[in-house]
């Protein structure tokens, strides 16, 4: 589709940036304190290794080779889809992710659905009755919404709504039925931010002569808001909105862990607790790729839709 075609220079920039990110992400393991070979064995559950175990581990990790070589080999593997094996289970990281990807995908989709369902009506109401009480209420709600950390909301929902009041399932089994809890917790912050952004954007459009022209043609306020103000605001803020989704990735991991959602995020938290470095590296790398592609995709789309934002080269 012509809408999505990015310019050549953008693709080049993207690749360079991702390559740089891979360097940073891989180098993180050099920061880990202690002997990597021992850490590997500890993660495997061997707290007191013998000398030859340590030597074998050193060979496995190619610790005798220079840093650059190790990076290049890792990069080569990654590009071919080999993210190494988890230090705990020894299964390939990719297959561990694969097992859990579905649950995280369900959570992601549900969260975005909640966000859209919260945001659109609230934005329209706030813009329609600008400066009157519905708008003020929305602004207050938005301030509060951005102040509620998602892990806290999920904790409160779990203990108050599910355990105390008895609504919903206690066990989060990754199914659509139980996704409402983590999705609500994650969507509040994003919805609050989006509402604020889009309300501002819509008000910006409603104050222009374009809105006056629409009114002069006989259009009513709702028509102007839904057909003109909201689409223009959406297009203008699409790149920002993509950025807020990126922030969601970290929060999702914590929320998954809080409610025991069988997704990749909870797995990451477990890996962090077990110091399972290959898993951590792979997760951050994949999340970064997804984030960069999404952010750039949003930017390309916005420019195609509204050329005033700058032509895509």
């Amino acid at each position: 589709m012509r809408l999505w075609r990015p310019g050549l220079s953008r693709i080049v920039q993207l690749i360079v940036t991702l390559w740089g990110a891979s360097v940073v992400i891989w180098s993180m393991i050099l920061l880990a304190p202690g002997d990597p070979a021992r850490r590997l064995l500890i993660a495997r559950g061997i707290p007191d290794p013998l000398a030859e175990d340590v030597a074998a581990a050193r060979r496995e990790l190619r610790l005798d080779q220079p840093v650059v070589v190790r990076y290049v080999r890792w990069l080569g593997d990654v590009v071919r889809g080999d993210f190494g094996a988890s230090w705990r289970t020894n299964r390939s990281v990719l297959s561990e992710f694969g097992d859990r990807f579905g649950a995280t995908a369900v959570l992601g989709v549900a969260t975005m659905v909640f966000v859209v369902v919260f945001t659109v009506p609230m934005t329209l109401i706030a813009a329609r009755w600008r400066e009157r009480w519905p708008d003020k209420v929305m602004q207050v709600g938005s301030s509060i919404g951005t102040s509620l950390p998602s892990f806290l909301v999920s904790l409160v929902l779990l203990h108050v709504v599910v355990l105390e009041w008895g609504w919903g399932q206690v066990l989060s089994d990754g199914s659509v039925g139980s996704v409402w809890l983590p999705a609500s917790a994650l969507s509040i912050g994003v919805a609050a931010t989006w509402t604020r952004l889009l309300r501002g954007g819509m008000v910006g459009v409603l104050d222009t002569s374009l809105a006056d022209i629409c009114r002069s043609r006989g259009a009513g306020p709702w028509r102007i808001m839904t057909r003109v103000a909201l689409p223009n605001a959406l297009v203008r803020f699409l790149p920002f909105m993509a950025l807020t989704v990126g922030a969601l990735v970290g929060g999702a991991a914590v929320v998954e862990s809080v409610v025991d959602w069988p997704g990749m995020g909870a797995y990451l938290v477990d890996a962090i607790n077990a110091r399972d470095l290959p898993v951590i590296q792979a997760y951050v790398l994949l999340a970064t790729v997804a984030y960069v592609v999404t952010a750039n995709g949003a930017d390309v789309l916005a420019r195609r839709l509204d050329p005033r934002l700058g032509i895509e080269r």
């Binding site: 222009t208 374009l210 006056d212 629409c214 002069s216 043609r217 028509r223 050329p307």
Partner: protein, 308 residues
């Protein structure tokens, strides 16, 4: 002019914005069917307020007094819904900037078609293309699929006129329709406005440009009408001192109107006693400072009227 043929009848219109600016202070003017009227003045004199009042686009919280009868209905007494029904169908509007008048996300076709869709109907097939070709846009069928940014200002303004006149409104209000265009295009656009409108109210600060296109000219200063006469008469023999200064002003593109007068227009948030032009007037007398001159024979000036 009989009542039936009066399209716009504004009587002692007084408008104060929510921030306290009294933009119009007892303005009266009339436009008949087939007539073209120009409202001239510097920026801030209230001429745009007249347009907004007719269209009902004043900010909420504005105070209005007087009457503004458009095609038989006093728009000041109408509910917002009823007023909306007049917009687009009975009252048309062309704005200054053609690019700002178009939704950048839509094709030009969709933008013009909005003139029908906004009032709940669909443009008859081929109508949009025909309207644009009538206004001088060649190859309209292919071009209308493009987005507004691909069209030139002059072409877009024609499209805007096509949208504004889609339903043959009884009154077309054009607020500085040529200020964003260069001189050559400006007269083309003015001719188009002449040909498409039943009655035209054109607001501008460029007297010389519109003088050949309109029947009457109304000169506005600080929220009051100071002169209201036939266009040719005003241009040949301006009587009010402000009008004379305006006509002597030189318009340089990109710069504000260089009226050869000292001082500034009065602060519209304060009441004005006497003639609003008196502080800057070269021929002002004692009486001008205390007594507001009424419109006599189309001129609101003690000095001019006393001379007879």
């Amino acid at each position: 002019m009989t009542n039936a043929s009066v399209v716009l009848d504004i009587a002692t219109l007084d408008v104060t914005y929510p921030n306290g600016t009294n933009a119009l202070r007892g303005v009266s003017l009339r436009v008949g069917t087939g007539e073209r009227l120009a409202v001239i003045g510097e920026s801030g004199c209230g001429k745009t307020t007249i347009a907004r009042t007719i269209l009902g686009l004043l900010p909420s919280g504005s105070r209005v007094a007087g009457s503004a009868i458009v095609a038989g209905s006093d728009v000041l007494a109408l509910s917002e819904r009823s007023h909306r029904r007049l917009r687009g169908t009975t009252i048309g509007y062309v704005a200054q900037s053609p690019y700002d008048a178009m939704n950048p996300l839509w094709s030009v076709e969709r933008n013009v078609a909005e003139a029908w869709r906004a009032v709940g109907c669909q443009p008859p097939t081929g109508h949009v293309v025909a309207a644009l070709e009538r206004l001088g846009i060649n190859d309209a069928a292919a071009r209308i699929r493009q987005r507004p940014f691909a069209w030139s200002g002059g072409m877009l303004q024609r499209a805007a006129i096509a949208a504004a006149t889609a339903h043959r409104p009884a009154l077309l209000v054009a607020d500085e329709p040529t200020s964003a265009l260069d001189a050559e295009l400006a007269s083309d656009i003015l001719e188009l406005l002449d040909s498409t409108s039943v009655a035209l109210l054109i607001i501008t600060h460029d007297v010389h440009l519109v003088a050949q296109h309109v029947h009457r000219i109304v000169v506005c200063y600080a929220g009051r009408i100071v002169e209201d006469r036939a266009a040719l008469d005003i241009c040949e023999q301006p009587r009010h001192p402000y009008t004379r200064a305006l006509l002597a002003a030189r318009i340089e593109p990109g710069r504000p109107l260089g009226v050869p007068l000292d001082g500034d227009p009065p602060d519209l948030s304060q009441p004005i006693v006497g003639c609003s032009f008196a502080p800057r007037c070269p021929v002002a007398v004692e009486r001008c400072l205390t007594e507001q001159p009424g419109l006599v024979d189309g001129v609101a000036c003690h000095v001019v009227n006393d001379r007879g």
